[in-house]
């Protein structure tokens, strides 16, 4: 039964709480209490403590207790929107799902959108205004600010500087423009540490202007990634993965597949998925791209003997054969010349307008952000800045080390910082103001193609906080407008650039507003495409890269923590990185050959020295990386992120210089004594020749469609001593298309959010006690020097003859009448025998009290339809049985059967590539039943005769025969 909200104010913060079970003392006290109460109640008295019911005084409209409500809004991830539908229970958003109408979602979600709901409830969010490290109030700030503004207004804004992250929100942009118009002497700077700096410069070089680029991979037959992890990272990755998988769906005799080439300096999820993958040093990419351009006649002269001829030749021929249906995608952190070369290639291949779309920039103002920041810092140092207003961002932590932003900030007479967290920057500013989370306030945001979503609040602000537009409003007039008023005023006054204009008429505007808010996007607001001229291919200095020696250090944003802004999100910290499977840490990645040459071992701490600065971090040997390339991810080593993020990993910003944001060559490396244990959730990445994840070329399938049943024969139905149990009603099953899985891990985090899965902390992950019900297995395959990777999401198999059930002494895990392997937490005594007997090892055990039962904010996130597990019980994937039962009740209330697709498991719903299908296997017309009839369908470990209800469609790849001959 879903609880009503109990207690009057759930938002009062009770001391510093710790997510990690080892530390907080109050938690420990409760654990003790719990244990002793449990011991007492175990003696026979089972009467629960009295509970109370607190009904509404005035019920909100259309609110029924026990029935969740769904609101369309967007998750703003690194400034860009992914349209989502938020599930709320009695006003508490608990789960984020994708908005099927939204182009960046199509119903799926990315990892960061899924995790955003936890950010909302982060107990470490800033709650009060801070002035010189003392708690203050908004009133005090506003009156102080008006006083500060008086001289600024008098000088038309001289000395006033705004520093923001890249502003994409139209209304915020308009608000800033208003401020700059009112105070013409003021200056606005933008800085994003991991933003698309190279893409901007590359666009400028290729087209002479700033353009936004995105890809329509559903039209692409051949895709080349130049160090881009487009399938798993980036604001459009959900859509890209969807479109990518759409063209790889081999069903029956339809064997058409796209082909992905990946050239990478560091192995990524995209690279592992590629049909062909090569490792190149960062510095070699311009040459590679230039050679390719030359081979395709897109500019530049082909070198006499390209070092990459073996690859470039077949690749160029393949691209040439698919003009207009190919796409070349540069990595965001690749150099501007690579971006420019890619533009040249794409335009000359006729991809522009087809698979590659160009629009005007998404951001309100495109600029060279590094130059802008450099100018700001020098002005701060020279004393030209008298009032600095930092709206979001954390430059003290993440500005390039050579700029010494922190030193400059100390010289500013008055500085104000608005942010979700009182972070490193807030420590050095005079004022810190708490910012509203985007689920708490009105706003607008653009998706990768410019589509605008009106953000509507899902909950009242948890704390006294305001949005950037409200703070900007203080610069314009008295603080009497709310975000909603500002937003509505903007949309009434402005036609959305690129369409989606709001009507003038009052009544029409209201219905337009309602529709836009309700749909989760403003219809027709995507930016119109522009058709650029043939891009200019930059001259790439012809160097023999073998001559260049020395280690290259490549910086990349972390796939989950990004530039550090999500460092305090425990779900993201504990989510295993796609390939390395590391949690809670970043690492110094290098390939085995480099590590051997440097005599380094896994987890050995090394010191990286460059330009007089140094950083220490542990080594992680990553097969598939380029030789002599060290890859580190940004975002770790935070000191003021909160209890989750503080102290995790090491901070590489302190060796990152403004002139070499992404790569430095000639870095020195030295061992630094100790070793640092890294917590990986999967330590064995060899499949040991076991037919677990089957991956074969599509050509084999074409010539021999039955090959899977030979590799992995299914036992006959009568190959058992047991009677045949029949499932006459529903019989739930799942099919996972391995070809579609791109290892983005959205399913893992969706499962965590839906099923109240606790976070356990690094120490427990090190002890192999991670709790994810669903994991994505990664196995290296192919040449060990240049491996490819196989991915397989592993949920509970819901075996029809489940070995776990036989050995449970207390019937805590038995089969339901509709084919589910039920796990009854409240019956479990914790022998863990079931886990031993599970060949798939999908069961998870609450070794300690992992679930947070006490932090008020985190309680609000919990799904009321799923039991929060206590200590000492086993748990596992339930096929989201709460959703099944809800749909069952719903359909029975309407006296009908459950429709195909009516139930989506959380993983299925989040999956961008629709790799996961769930449904009733008894109805042969259902999608899942159809997939299980595919010849690619197989059961994992079928020879154990467990008869899993989760089956897999073998992965097919589409290698280029010409390139295969070469290798």
């Amino acid at each position: 039964m879903p609880p009503l909200i109990t207690g009057s104010s759930p938002l009062v913060r009770i001391g510093e709480e710790d997510q990690l079970p080892d530390q907080a003392t109050r938690r420990r006290f409760f654990e003790l209490m719990g244990a002793s109460t449990a011991l007492i109640t175990g003696a026979g008295c089972t009467r629960p403590p009295t509970e109370f019911l607190m009904p509404y005084v005035q019920p909100p409209e259309k609110t029924l207790p026990g029935v969740p409500k769904y609101y369309a809004t967007a998750a703003v991830v690194n400034g860009l929107a992914q349209g989502v539908i938020a599930e709320t229970h009695l006003g508490r958003p608990t789960k984020i799902e994708g908005n099927p109408r939204h182009p960046a979602s199509l119903g799926a979600t990315g990892v960061l959108s899924q995790a955003s709901v936890l950010d909302l409830y982060d107990p470490d969010r800033s709650k009060v205004v801070i002035y010189r490290e003392q708690a203050s109030s908004w009133d005090a700030f506003i009156s102080a600010f008006q006083q500060l503004l008086a001289p600024v207004r008098a000088t038309h804004g001289r000395g006033l500087r705004l520093l923001t992250e890249t502003v994409i929100s139209p209304s915020t942009g308009a608000q800033i423009a208003d401020v700059l118009a009112a105070l013409p002497e003021a200056r606005w700077h933008q800085y994003d540490p991991a933003g698309p700096h190279s893409a901007r410069a590359g666009s400028l070089a290729a087209f002479g202007r700033y353009l936004n680029t995105y890809y329509r991979l559903d039209r692409a037959r051949v895709i080349l990634s130049l160090d881009s992890d487009f399938l798993a990272c980036g604001p459009a990755s959900t859509r890209y993965a969807h479109d990518f998988a759409l063209r790889r769906r081999v069903r029956g005799s339809n064997t058409a597949m796209n082909r992905l080439y990946a050239v990478e300096s560091h192995m990524t999820a995209t690279g592992g998925k590629a049909d062909h993958r090569a490792a190149l040093r960062y510095s070699e990419f311009p040459q590679f791209a230039a050679d390719l351009a030359a081979a395709l006649g897109a500019g530049g002269a082909a070198p006499a003997g390209s070092k990459y001829a073996a690859w470039v030749g077949p690749l160029a021929r393949d691209l040439d054969a698919h003009r207009g249906a190919s796409a070349i995608i540069p990595g965001e952190h690749q150099s501007p010349s690579v971006h420019a070369l890619c533009h040249a290639l794409n335009t000359s291949l006729g991809n522009a307008g087809s698979t590659v779309a160009y629009t005007e920039p998404l951001e309100v103002r495109s600029e060279d952000q590094i130059a802008s920041l450099r100018e700001l810092v020098s002005d701060m140092e020279s004393g030209a800045v008298s009032l600095l207003l930092i709206l979001g961002g954390n430059p003290v932590y993440n500005a390039p080390a050579d700029l010494d932003f922190a030193g400059a900030l100390r010289r500013v007479p008055m500085s104000i910082k608005l942010g979700l967290h009182a972070d490193e920057t807030s420590r050095l500013t005079h004022w810190h103001l708490p910012e509203t989370h985007f689920y708490e306030d009105w706003g607008d945001a653009r998706a990768y193609d410019g589509t605008v979503t009106i953000l509507q609040p899902l909950i009242l602000p948890l704390y006294e906080s305001h949005s950037p537009v409200e703070v900007l409003d203080l610069l314009l007039r008295a603080p009497n407008r709310t975000s909603r008023e500002i937003l509505r005023a903007y949309w009434r006054g402005h036609a959305a650039s690129g369409g989606g204009a709001a009507p003038e008429n009052d009544g029409e505007f209201e219905s337009w507003w309602r529709k836009s808010v309700g749909d989760g996007l403003i219809a027709g607001s995507a930016l119109p495409e522009v058709t650029p001229a043939q891009a200019k291919a930059p001259e790439v200095p012809h160097t023999d890269s073998t001559v260049r020696s020395g280690l290259e250090l490549v910086f990349r944003p972390d796939p989950y923590i990004y530039d550090g802004r999500y460092a305090n999100n425990a779900w993201l910290q504990e989510l295993p990185k796609p390939i390395s499977k590391l949690t809670w840490d970043n690492a110094v990645h290098m390939n085995p050959r480099t590590a051997a040459r440097l005599h380094l071992e896994n987890q050995q701490v090394v010191e990286l020295k460059y330009g007089g600065r140094s950083v220490r971090g542990p080594v992680w040997i990553s097969p598939g990386d380029a030789d002599d390339t060290i890859t580190v991810s940004l975002g770790y080593g935070r000191t003021d992120a909160g209890v989750i993020g503080n102290g995790a990993g090491f901070d590489v910003y302190c060796v990152r210089a403004s002139d070499a944001l992404w790569c430095v060559a000639g870095v020195e490396i030295a061992t630094a004594g100790a070793s640092h244990r890294l917590a990986a959730t999967q330590t064995e990445k060899s499949m040991h020749d076991r037919p677990l994840v089957i991956s074969k070329p599509v050509a084999l399938y074409e010539s021999d469609p039955d090959f899977v049943s030979r590799i992995r024969p299914e036992p006959l139905l009568d190959e058992t001593l047991y009677p045949q149990w029949t499932y006459t009603g529903y019989n739930w099953g799942m099919a996972i298309d391995l070809t579609a899985c791109v290892n983005c891990n959205a399913c893992v985090i969706a499962c965590q959010a839906e099923n109240n899965i606790p976070v356990v902390g690094k120490a427990e992950v090190l002890s192999h006690r991670d709790m994810h019900w669903l994991r994505v297995d990664v196995y290296y395959t192919g040449n060990p020097d240049n491996p490819s990777a196989l991915y397989a999401p592993i949920p509970c198999m819901h075996c029809e003859q489940a070995p776990c059930e036989e050995v449970c002494p207390v019937q805590a895990t038995v089969h339901s009448s509709d084919g589910l392997n039920d796990m009854i937490y409240n019956r479990c005594v914790g022998t863990r025998y079931c886990s031993n007997n599970c060949p798939y090892k999908v069961r998870r055990f609450n070794w300690k009290l992992y679930a947070d039962w006490y932090t008020e904010q985190l309680k609000m996130q919990k799904n009321p339809d799923v039991t929060v597990r206590s200590r000492g019980v086993m748990e596992k994937c339930t096929y989201c049985v709460q959703r099944i039962r809800e749909a069952e009740i719903h359909s029975q209330d309407e006296d009908r059967y459950i429709r195909d697709g009516e139930i989506q498991t959380a993983c299925q719903q989040a999956c961008p590539t629709q790799a996961i299908r769930f449904g009733d296997m008894n109805n042969s017309a259902n999608q899942v039943a159809r997939l299980k009839r595919e010849k690619l369908n197989y059961s994992m470990l079928a020879e154990l005769n467990t008869r899993p209800h989760t089956t897999y469609l073998a992965e097919l790849r589409n290698p280029n025969p010409a390139l295969l001959e070469h290798s």
Binding site: Y722, P723, E806, Q811, H815
Partner: protein, 178 residues
């Protein structure tokens, strides 16, 4: 004051052989209620002083009962009380039930042995008239005793004492029952 009822006439012997000989003599002279006491089992005495018990049938019966109870308990719970689909196995998974059935056979039998043994040994009996014999403590060390009990129809104290004296005992006691 009534004379206390006699329990019997007891003679103490030096060793097992004399006890055995004495017991044979007592039986030969017609005494039926004769009991010999020794610090260790003397097999030959069993033939001289016959006794009966139902140990074996009782153990057998309770073993059979234990087996039936054990199996039926499992069958009842697995197939009738709350039938569940466990690994697709049949509700009456009798091969899996054999182990506990056997354990229950042994459990019931062992308990039967224990209680039957005590029953037929007449234990516990913390007090017994013989314990009043000062040297009876030696029965758990190196003492051998023969008792002609007053229950015997032919028992007559003086005659029994005389008879026992004739068997060359270490000493002869008359023991009262209270």
């Amino acid at each position: 004051m009534t004379q206390p009822k006699p329990y019997g006439m007891v003679a103490e012997f030096e060793d097992a052989d004399s006890l055995l000989a004495a017991a044979r003599a007592a039986r030969a002279s017609g005494y039926r209620r004769v009991e010999a006491y020794s610090p260790y089992p003397i097999r030959e005495l069993d033939e001289v002083i016959p006794s009966w018990d139902l140990l074996s049938p009782m153990v057998f019966a309770s073993g059979v009962a234990g087996g039936f109870i054990g199996f039926y308990m499992q069958y009842f719970i697995a197939a009738i009380v709350y039938p569940t689909n466990t690994r697709g196995m049949p509700l009456n998974s009798w091969p899996a039930f054999t182990v506990i059935t056997f354990e229950m056979v042994v459990l019931f039998s062992v308990c039967a042995v224990f209680f039957a043994a005590l029953l037929f040994e007449g234990l516990p009996q913390l007090y017994h008239p013989l314990f009043r014999i000062p040297t009876f403590k030696r029965v758990s060390d190196d003492g051998f005793f023969l008792c002609i009990e007053a229950r015997d129809g032919r028992f007559e104290p003086a005659q029994a004492a005389r008879f026992l004296q004739s068997l060359d005992p270490l000493k002869v006691w008359e023991v009262d029952s209270e």
